[in-house]
Symmetry: C2
Subunit: 256 residues, 2 copies
Amino acid sequence: MQTQATVTDTSRYPLSRKQRELAKREALILDTAQNILHEQGYSSLTMDRIAEAIEYSKGTIYNHFPNKEDMVCSLCCRNIKNLIDIFTRAAEYEGTSRERFSAMGIGYSLYHQINPLDAQNIQIIKINSIREKISLEKLSEIESLEQRITEIANRVVQEAIQCGDLPKEVSDITDSIVFGYWSMLYGSLLLEQSDIPLENLGFNPGVKTLWLNCQKFMDGYNWLPHSPDIGSESLFNKISSDLYSNEVDMLNKRNK
Amino acid sequence: MQTQATVTDTSRYPLSRKQRELAKREALILDTAQNILHEQGYSSLTMDRIAEAIEYSKGTIYNHFPNKEDMVCSLCCRNIKNLIDIFTRAAEYEGTSRERFSAMGIGYSLYHQINPLDAQNIQIIKINSIREKISLEKLSEIESLEQRITEIANRVVQEAIQCGDLPKEVSDITDSIVFGYWSMLYGSLLLEQSDIPLENLGFNPGVKTLWLNCQKFMDGYNWLPHSPDIGSESLFNKISSDLYSNEVDMLNKRNK
DNA sequence: GCAATAATATGACGAAGCGTCAAAAAATGT
DNA sequence: ACATTTTTTGACGCTTCGTCATATTATTGC
C-alpha cells in the first residue's frame, strides 16, 4: 500500500532514523524549490525540475506533497516562522507599547524586503484558485501560524490599554486595530511588489512612507505617546538599529 | 499576413463596420470569460472552453489577445471603469472633504463586495509570474486606469489642505496619504477575500471594521472634522444611502 | 541466512491546457 | 470571374501535472 510520507508528527519522542531521513528529504525538496524560485521564478518551478535536481523521481516528491500548490504552501509555513521570530523580538523590545507595535511594522517591512520571494509565495497561496488545491491540513497549519503572529500583535495592543497608552474604549476592538495595521502592512507590501511601477501612479513609496502611515494610524487611535510633528524618523532609526541591525546590514549589502 | 485584431483605437472617428464587429466580438469573449469565471472559477477558465462557448475557434481568440493572462487583464481594464465611476461620484459628493474621502473607502469596499470576481482578477494580475505574460500595452492600460483613481483621491486630499481640513504640512506627502489609504483598503480586501477564514485568526472583519480603521487613519492625519468617539456609523449610513443606495440594494438582494 | 512480505521509489503514461501555423474559407479588389 | 488579401480554423507539438503498475529496497519471521 502506498502511504503518504509524513514528518509532521509533533510528538516529543525522538524521531526514528526513517523519520529523520524523511524530514531531511522534505527539507531538501523545499530547499530546491526555493532555489528554483529564486533563480528562475515561479513559472519555471515544475515538479520534474525539482525531481531532477534532487535526484529522486517525481513520484517520490508526490509522497511528500499531494500537489505543487501544497508544496508552495509548505514553503510558506517554513518561512513564516522567521516572521514569528521577528514579531516576537518586536514584542519583547524594551520601550513603550507603541514602540513595540511600531517595531512590528518595521520588522514586517524589512523582512519582506529581504525576502521578496516569501511575499510572492504568500500572495500566490492567497489566490482562491490556488488555495482550493492545498490540503486542508496545510491550510490550517499556515492559518495557525498566522494566528500566532496576530496574537503577538494583539497582546501588545492589550498591554497598551492596560498601561493607559491606549484608551480603555478600544478594549473590545483590539482585533480591529491589529487587522487595520496588518491590512496596511500587507496592502503596502503588495502594492510595492517589485515589478509594479508605483512611481507612475504618483506614489512616493518605500519603507518610510509605510512607517509614516503606520504612525498616523496609531495616532488616530490615540496611542500615546503621539508621534512628533517632525522627526519621527529618529525613532525609526533607533528601533531599526536596536532590533534589526542584522537585517538592515543584509539589505545594505545586497543593494550594493 | 496574420495581424493582430485590435479595437483599442481611441481616435474619435467613427468605427468602421469591421471595427465594430471586432469590438463586439471582443466584448463577447470577455463576457464569456467572465461568465465562466463566475460559474466555474479561474481554474476552469480555458481558451478551449471560451472558444466553444462563443462558437469561434481558439485561433480567433488569439487574434484578439496574445494569451490568456492578457485576456484576464483586459477584463480587469473593462471592470475597473466601474471603480473609476464610484470614485468620481465620491469626489463629487456634497459634503466635507473628509466625507468625500470616506465615501471613496465605502465605495471601494462595496464595489468589491458586490463583485468579488473583480477582486480576484486584480489579485491574479498582480502576481509577478502572471504579470510577465501580459503585454506591455495592456499593463500600461491598466496602470493608467489605476492612476486615474489615485488622481481622483489625490485631488480630494489637496482640496482638504486648501480649505484647511488638513494641515498645510502634509502638502508634499499627499501621495503618501493616498497610498496609505489605498493600502489599507486593498490589504483589507485581500485579507477578507472570501475563503480565508479570518474569524479563526481572531478578527472581526467586515466593512464596519474597515470603516473604523479608515476613520482612525484620517484622524491620525488630523483630517477635520475628527470622527466622533461614538456614532461614526451614522455618517457611514448617511454616505451609503446618499451615494450608494443602488449598490447597497444589490448587496442586500443578493444576500437574501 | 533466506524466503515472504511490506514499504518505498520509479518513470512511462494519460489527460489537459497552451499557443502555433499551414491550410481552408471568406472578403475584397480588379 | 479571377486574383489577392484577410480572416478563420482546428489539428498539432509541447509542456506540465498527477497517477499507478512495476521494480527496487527494507523489514520481518523463521
